[in-house]
């Protein structure tokens, strides 16, 4: 199997506190991988270790089949990233920031910058100073910077932070488009399930620095197909009953007089009694 990112028992300890412990991550080529976890669960720390900003206490990171060490960082050339908050040289203009980024990566294509700016609908701001930007604009500019060099792996830490609903949709479409047309692998993170399940193919759940579960979305929807179907005369009344008397919320009205209940925590007899 062709893995873009592989980590072997990745552990990070800071001042005796275990931030990330024993994470074995496998990201396949061409998929969108979503990190899900609470605030402070260690998503960002893992991402920082993948981009070489932090070095792991024990364990190792493998990018494109090559180990990432302090001296060997060539894998980073093929990665674009925003970690935590889009950081720029605030006193420089947007264009200068992007040019600096390109020069550091040894990428010389003048057209690519304008192309990338058009992709996220961010035009006419090239000569403005970054410190005048709003958070949403900075977020977009950060995404521009990540995609300019057409990397093979893009790491986005909470890409929809501070964006308006239209912006969120734009970014979602952009991620899907880049994934489909250029075959770029994505690693996203979020603490909102709904946001991730709309784009991700596979989800890694992180809790207290441990990778609890790695599942594909297809598996989840398969698990969720068991349901009880009820036929009633008065749909509204029975829904009210189900919601307030039995505290069931995961259900759906199909046709006019049928209700499907996906929440199977209560036994069937309990429902039929009411």
């Amino acid at each position: 199997m062709d893995y873009v990112v592989k980590t072997n028992s990745l552990t990070k300890k800071i001042k005796g506190k275990l931030l990330v412990s024993n994470v074995n991550l496998h990201i396949k080529k061409g998929e969108i991988y979503g990190f899900l976890g609470q605030n402070g669960a260690g998503k960002t720390t893992i991402m920082k270790m993948l981009t070489g900003i932090l070095s792991p206490t024990t364990g190792e990171v493998e990018l494109f089949g090559q180990k990432l060490t302090k001296t060997e960082k060539s894998g980073l050339k093929r990665i674009g990233s925003i970690i935590e908050y889009p950081i720029f040289f605030e006193h420089l203009t947007a264009m200068e920031n992007l040019q600096l980024h390109c020069e550091y990566l040894g990428f010389y294509d003048k057209k690519a910058i304008t192309q990338a700016l058009e992709m996220v609908h961010l035009t006419g701001i090239e000569d403005k100073i970054v410190s005048d930007f709003s958070l949403g604009m900075k977020q977009r500019l950060g995404i521009v910077r990540a995609i300019i060099t057409k990397p093979e792996l893009i790491i986005l830490d909470e890409p929809t932070n501070g964006l308006d609903p239209i912006g969120i949709k734009d970014i979602r479409d952009l991620i899907r488009m880049l994934n489909r047309e250029y075959g770029i692998t994505f690693l996203l993170s979020s603490h909102i399930l709904g946001e991730i399940e709309q784009v991700a193919d596979r989800i890694g759940v992180i809790k207290d620095g441990k990778l609890v579960n790695e599942v594909t979305l297809a598996d989840i929807s398969k698990q969720r197909t068991d349901y009880i179907e009820i036929v009633t005369k008065d749909v509204e009344k029975s829904i009210y009953l189900l919601e307030y008397e039995l505290q069931i919320s995961n259900m759906k009205i199909v046709q006019d007089n049928r209700i499907r209940i996906y929440d199977l925590t209560l036994p069937q007899s309990e429902i039929s009694k009411n």
Binding site: K73, F89, E103, Y104
Partner: protein
């Protein structure tokens, strides 16, 4: 390495540093003349008085060096842009070396 230094230079607030340079130049070049010509003519006479003059000038250079290091190294940590540089496929030793060399270069340029 020259390329890295150039990039490092492009990150800075160039206008600020250049104007700072000019001010230091002006003051430090003007002061000794002022002392020798205006305050007392004896200042140019003996070696020990020259040393006395040199002291504050040296201090001025040290101050300039300090503000350079602040802009080249400390500001970047403060604004967290350093994590950006560390995310590039260049070893940290080289990055820090480029910073040190650039500030040395600018410093010796003024002197």
């Amino acid at each position: 390495m020259v390329k890295l230094m150039e990039l490092e230079w492009r990150k800075l607030r160039r206008k600020l540093i250049l104007s700072e340079m000019i001010i230091y130049w002006g003051v430090l070049m003007f002061l000794p003349m002022f002392f020798i010509k205006m305050v007392s003519a004896e200042f140019g006479q003996s070696y020990s008085t020259i040393i006395q003059l040199m002291m504050p000038m040296q201090l001025g250079f040290v101050l300039f060096g300090a503000s350079l290091i602040n802009q080249v190294v400390i500001d970047e940590y403060k604004n967290k842009t350093i994590s950006l540089s560390f995310g590039y496929p260049i070893s940290r030793k080289k990055l820090v070396m480029a910073k040190a060399l650039l500030s040395h270069f600018l410093f010796s340029f003024v002197r």
